[in-house]
């Protein structure tokens, strides 16, 4: 619950001491994930704000960094799903994308973050390499609308488009942009994006 209350230092101390005393890192990680889920629920209810989502993400990242060497010893776990994220050509903003990335990781997704100002061709390559369940484009600058549309077209031409759900997100996106790009899902809310991925993986 320290994570839910955004007690940054207490989370780090507890994770460290529990890992050092031999407690299962998977169990500790699972508790952190549950905390992130509660933060997301509070956000959905309007009790928490984007600030708290960001802070919880940073705390989770810190916990993961502590747990990483312990997790490496117990071997890799099967991810819940795979996601490729990118801010495409014409746009170098990544605040929203980074929040979504950490929240997806917190839910057990394997996230391949291609960064910002990404050429559409690189997305095709990454999709071919990783066979993701989702591809997500983050956007703040309207000139990147066409880069998203181009990437979607290239993925179709490569015969890859049917293999994943395409999501777009960011303050300037609307359902009009979703239709323009040919995406399956659009949101301006990071927690909605994560909920969509979970829903799809559960067969929704």
């Amino acid at each position: 619950m320290a994570l839910v209350e955004l007690e940054r230092d207490r989370v780090a101390e507890e994770v460290k001491s529990r890992a050092e005393t031999g407690e299962s890192p998977i169990q500790i990680l699972e508790e952190c994930r549950r905390g992130m889920t509660i933060v997301g629920e509070r956000f959905q209810k309007g009790d928490y704000f984007l600030a708290e989502l960001m802070l919880s993400g940073e705390i989770f990242k810190g916990a993961m960094a502590i747990l990483e060497p312990y997790l490496a010893k117990v071997g890799p776990s099967k991810p819940l799903g795979k996601v490729v994220l990118a801010t495409l050509q014409g746009d170098i903003h990544d605040l929203g994308k980074n929040i979504v990335a950490i929240m997806l990781k917190a839910q057990g997704f394997e996230v391949h973050d291609l960064g910002v100002d990404v050429a559409p061709g690189l997305v095709v390559e990454k999709v071919r390499e990783t066979a993701p369940d989702f591809v997500g484009f983050s956007v703040l600058i309207t000139t990147a609308f066409d880069s998203m549309k181009q990437a979607a077209a290239m993925l179709r031409e490569a015969g890859l488009r049917e293999q994943f759900k395409l999501m777009i997100g960011g303050g300037v996106t609307t359902t009009v942009v979703k239709d323009h790009v040919g995406a399956d899902f659009q949101t301006t809310d990071a927690t909605e994006g994560v909920a969509y991925c979970l829903d799809v993986m559960r067969g929704g």
Binding site: F49, E52, G90, D94, T142, T188
Partner: protein, 386 residues
């Protein structure tokens, strides 16, 4: 169709004073990218040639039918000059077309931690302007002190020239003549970066407050002096991160609202109206503005705040501006833009106190026909009904 009976100046003043003008005034906030796109130029080309760029802006102005209030569509003598001006205004690292970015990109902010925690105390002690011009600018810009001085000396004549050109066209301008003067809170957030600043607010809040106090006092003083120097009675304040989309009200009430009240009260006592450029959703925060003196502010909303609800909350108390969504202007059809503008004019501008404008600044991917539709609707819709 009835004819216009007011000048742009009269129309703008009427709207601010919450009166009903002859028709809705049209306000434009734009940096180079949308004008460059409409003019068929790369953004970098736009920045490289001041005269060519300004002529392109005035041609767009003529082609779409002209607007009443311009919030800073001026250019500099070079990319470096514009980058320096914007860096001084925003206080963070910027990437510009023709420099760090390809020629046809819009300029963009880099979300980096250029301001360190220890800088809060320095800012509290020496003020933002001194800190910015003697320290921070050299962290984020490859420029020598001599080059910085030269740029600063070139800015003011360039600004007066732009102001004169708009005045020749009957267009009202405001202080400052570049489109970004940030609220102290926003300035610190940009410099620290969103995540780091949020951590400071939650885990080390005391260190921020000293800086905010000094910056607010300084902001008031420089704005009043600037308004006198440029003979303006309206000033622009940009805030994109303090609203209810990002922070709970307890943060807003402690770190934004008192400083904002102080700014507005001080400026209003000098007869200066504050035009707030408020991005992201401010739905939760809108009722606070009722505490400010009637007619002392204009709230420009970006399409994510419910402008219709804001009108109900602030009717006959504060003027609103907005909020044709950037996506509508970029991907929509002219008839869709026209329909939304009519809705705004009827429902938000019906009893006055409203500027028709884009949500946020004109988007980089704007279509010329959509800008034309927005301006045409603003200029003709009400007059055609008289």
């Amino acid at each position: 169709m009835a004819s216009e009976t007011m000048t742009s100046q009269e129309r703008v003043q009427a709207a601010i004073q919450l009166e009903k003008p002859d028709r809705v005034p049209i306000a434009i906030l734009a940096t180079a990218a949308p004008f460059a796109r409409i003019s068929g130029m790369a953004a970098a080309e736009f920045y490289r040639n001041e005269d060519k760029a300004n002529n392109a802006i005035y041609k767009v102005f003529d082609d779409v039918g002209g607007w009443d209030l311009d919030l800073g569509s001026v250019t500099g003598k070079s990319i470096m000059m514009m980058k320096t001006v914007m860096t001084l205004a925003l206080g963070l690292r910027l990437a510009y077309p023709g420099m760090e970015l390809p020629d046809d990109y819009a300029y963009q902010a880099c979300e980096e931690e250029v301001l360190k925690p220890e800088d809060y105390a320095t800012i509290a002690e020496i003020g933002w302007v001194k800190f910015m011009t003697e320290d921070l600018v050299f962290r984020v810009l490859d420029i020598t002190p001599a080059e910085l001085n030269q740029t600063l000396n070139e800015i003011i004549p360039s600004v007066f020239k732009g102001k004169d050109e708009w005045a020749k066209r009957g267009v009202v301008t405001m202080y400052p003549p570049s489109p970004f003067t940030c609220h102290p809170f926003f300035r610190l957030s940009l410099g620290r970066s969103m995540v780091k600043f949020t951590e400071d607010l939650y885990y080390n809040p005391e260190m921020i407050e000293g800086a905010l106090k000094t910056m607010t006092r300084e902001f008031i003083e420089t704005t009043i002096n600037g308004c006198k120097m440029f003979n303006n009675n309206m000033t622009l304040v940009v805030e994109e991160r303090a609203g209810g989309y990002f922070y709970p009200l307890r943060i807003f009430e402690r770190f934004w609202w008192p400083y904002t009240q102080e700014i507005v009260d001080a400026l209003w006592s000098e007869g200066i109206v504050t035009w707030f450029h408020l991005d992201t959703s401010w739905d939760r925060n809108i009722p606070y503005f009722k505490q400010l003196p009637r007619g002392s502010v204009v709230l420009a909303l970006d399409g994510t705040t419910d402008i219709f609800a804001a009108k109900e909350a602030l009717r006959n108390h504060a003027c609103l501006a907005g909020d044709v969504h950037p996506t509508l202007l970029s991907l929509g059809k002219p008839e869709e833009v026209e329909a939304y503008c009519k809705k705004l004019i009827d429902e938000v501008g019906g009893d006055g106190g409203f500027f028709l404008s884009s949500g946020c600044e004109l988007p980089a991917a704007i279509k010329a026909e959509n800008l034309r539709a927005m301006v045409r609707t603003g200029k003709t819709y009400e007059l055609s009904k008289k």
